[in-house]
């Protein structure tokens, strides 16, 4: 299965959350690929902690592959090449976790017919090799989004299942923007239909992930005043109404990732160790990630409403 990670704005935690989902799937035994189509600002290498492996990939990453400069984009075996001490000891019975980075120093670029064919080649190849392939897309209505909409509408891809995760933060602006990305005239659905996707099928393959959501019940806020708590409750209520009005209400939400201080400070994978022994991450965060990862392939959370 292919999973496309999209967001309307930067700073939604799209990359770090989808990297964490990939990590969680690999822990359960799936072979997982993580494809960095965030052409303008490739960050995946940092999340997976593989800076060393990125040296010398200037001409061999996904940019070069799509432009036809290399036949096979470089792949980084995360378990083997990460500098994160906990990840290096590949957990028993875990599946492979392979990162396909962009070129170091690559930029956003316009894609043509040839790039599309190569994109289809790559996605098919990955789908034949990996159980789940995460594709992290540049924010907004980017070339990357257009390309994968084209690719998934391509006749060769007709039998390849795919799902979309749209990430947004829990604020007024972000809710409106995320809805626009999906539902606006040339949004993901409109743009997809223009390219030959079936509207209902496409809509039923899109779910939202609310990221960095402050939980008023959380001990994080327990020091605050009553007035603060009440205000937060009211805001939360208002946002839920706003989301529902913008067709991204609770029924199309796959999961909610709580506000997590360590993710605010540093984009990284959250391991059990971070929660249990060093306790720098919250248990709720890890549980939310595990649950979203599980729901990705649980059909009861997908389909028409």
């Amino acid at each position: 299965m292919l999973v496309f990670a999209a967001s309307d704005k930067g700073g939604t935690g799209r990359s770090v959350t989808s990297a964490n989902l990939a990590y969680q799937r690999a822990l359960t035994g799936d072979h997982v690929a993580y494809v960095d189509f965030d052409f303008g600002s490739p960050t995946a290498a940092a999340v997976f902690d593989v800076p060393g492996a990125m040296r010398g990939t200037e001409e061999l990453g996904l940019h070069s592959y799509l432009e036809g400069e290399t036949a096979e984009p470089v792949r980084i075996d995360v378990w083997r090449q990460t500098e994160h001490p906990l990840l290096r000891a590949r957990p028993n019975q875990s599946g492979r976790l392979v990162l396909f980075p962009g070129d170091a120093g690559g930029g956003e670029f316009a894609t043509g017919e040839e790039a599309l064919e190569r994109c289809v080649d790559l996605l098919l190849k990955l789908n034949n090799e990996f159980d789940v392939t995460f594709v992290d897309l540049s924010a907004g209505r980017s070339y990357a989004v257009d390309m994968v909409l084209d690719a998934t509408a391509h006749p060769r891809m007709r039998n390849v299942p795919f799902r979309w995760l749209v990430f947004h933060r829990w604020t007024r602006q972000h809710v409106i923007a995320a809805s626009g990305l999906v539902h606006a005239e040339h949004g993901i659905i409109g743009g997809g239909v223009e390219r030959g996707h079936d509207e209902d099928d496409l809509r039923s393959a899109i779910r939202f992930v609310r990221a960095a959501v402050p939980d008023p019940e959380s001990p994080l806020w327990s020091q605050g005043s009553t007035a603060q708590a009440t205000w937060m409750q009211a805001c939360d209520e208002a946002l839920r109404r706003l989301a529902a009005e913008h067709r991204i209400g609770d029924s199309v939400v796959l999961g909610i990732v709580p506000l997590e201080p360590i993710l605010q400070w540093q984009e990284q994978l959250i391991t059990e160790e971070d929660v249990l022994s060093t306790q720098i991450a919250n248990k709720e965060t890890l549980e939310a990630l595990e649950e979203i990862a599980r729901r990705l392939t649980d059909d009861t959370h997908w389909g028409r409403l």
Binding site: F39, G40, H63, G68, E69, T70, A71, G106, G107, E108, F109, A110, E114
Partner: protein
């Protein structure tokens, strides 16, 4: 090594051989405009051709070490780009004018036979055998989308492409002929064009290259010879071009159609087309079985052919229309 006991015919390649002359001389092409110019045009043409055919004959005999050289003559009529008149009208007039100049046309071919003969898509098959000459620096990476339908003798100017954000666009660079000595004579040949309905029209140079391969005995389809000459049996010629065999043997005692080498006598205006033919032939990988047969037999006759297929063809150009 012993021969295996078990064989499967579908699992073994084979190549049919064709009879071969020493030299195939082309007496000319006939296009509609030539025909419309009347029999005088043909008469003038054959008069120009005659001495050169004699010269080619002398040269071939010398190459054969003074023995009788096997030489056949042929003539190509365009029925592909424009259809004009009928075989019943054109062919007798053509033969009469040739005879008047003291020339014999052994074989008559229709140009559309170089595109498709019977059910064999000859031109398409040759197009699939093009192996582009690699510019220095070609290390095995699939070249970024070849210019479909075009073939060059070198590297084209880079196409201005939208660069990645924050990167510079590449400034103009000249094209470069791969085999250039100091300076380039760059040629880019259109092999075909497709019309709005997807119908493919092969270009004149491409069909001319196919024609040369046929005359060199190097065309095969699934190992079988293509464009085998048919004898001319009936008295006259048909009223429709399609009813005329694509390659017709007019002279019963003619030497074989295909030959080790070819020579074409043409007016100078064909020069650009024939330059293009060389560019194409230099980049076609012909059937290795056919190639080996020609090399083997010419070697046994002590008349070795040049390695390169493009070097087996020669021309005489005369000034004129």
């Amino acid at each position: 090594m012993t021969e295996p006991v078990f064989r499967e015919t579908a699992a073994e390649p084979r190549t049919q051989s064709v009879p071969l002359a020493h030299l195939s001389v082309e007496l000319g092409h006939l296009y509609m405009e030539d025909f419309e110019a009347g029999p005088e045009r043909l008469r003038a043409h054959f008069a120009e051709v005659r001495p050169w055919v004699e010269a080619a004959r002398t040269a071939a005999t010398a190459r054969a070490g003074g023995k009788r050289a096997r030489i056949s003559t042929c003539f190509l009529i365009d029925d592909y780009f424009t259809r004009f008149s009928t075989p019943a009208d054109v062919v007798p007039m053509l033969l009469e004018e040739a005879e008047r100049a003291g020339l014999t046309v052994d074989y008559l071919a229709r140009e559309s036979g170089c595109a498709v003969t019977g059910k064999v898509p000859v031109a398409e098959a040759v197009a699939a055998r093009i192996v582009e000459s690699p510019p220095p620096g070609s290390y095995g990476l699939r070249p970024p989308a070849a210019q479909t339908g075009w073939l060059a003798n070198g590297e084209r100017s880079p196409v201005a492409r939208a660069p990645q954000a924050m990167k510079r666009a590449v400034p103009w660079q000249p094209p470069h002929e791969t085999a250039a000595r100091r300076h380039s004579v760059f040629l880019d040949v259109e092999l075909w064009s497709d019309d709005a309905d997807g119908q493919r029209l092969w270009s004149c140079p491409f069909l001319a290259a196919v024609w040369q391969l046929a005359r060199l005995g190097l065309l095969r389809n699934e190992g079988e010879a293509v464009l085998a000459p048919r004898p001319h049996t009936a008295g006259g010629f048909p009223d429709k071009w399609d009813e005329l065999p694509t390659l017709l043997r007019l002279n019963e005692r003619a030497d074989p159609f295909a030959a080790y080498r070819t020579c074409s006598v043409l007016p100078t205006r064909f020069l650009p087309v024939e330059h293009a033919v060389r560019v194409i032939l230099d980049q076609v990988q012909v059937d290795p079985g056919a190639l080996a047969q020609v090399a083997d037999r010419s070697g046994k006759e002590r008349m070795p052919v040049p390695d390169s297929v493009a070097d087996r063809i020669s021309y005489v150009y005369y000034s004129g229309p």
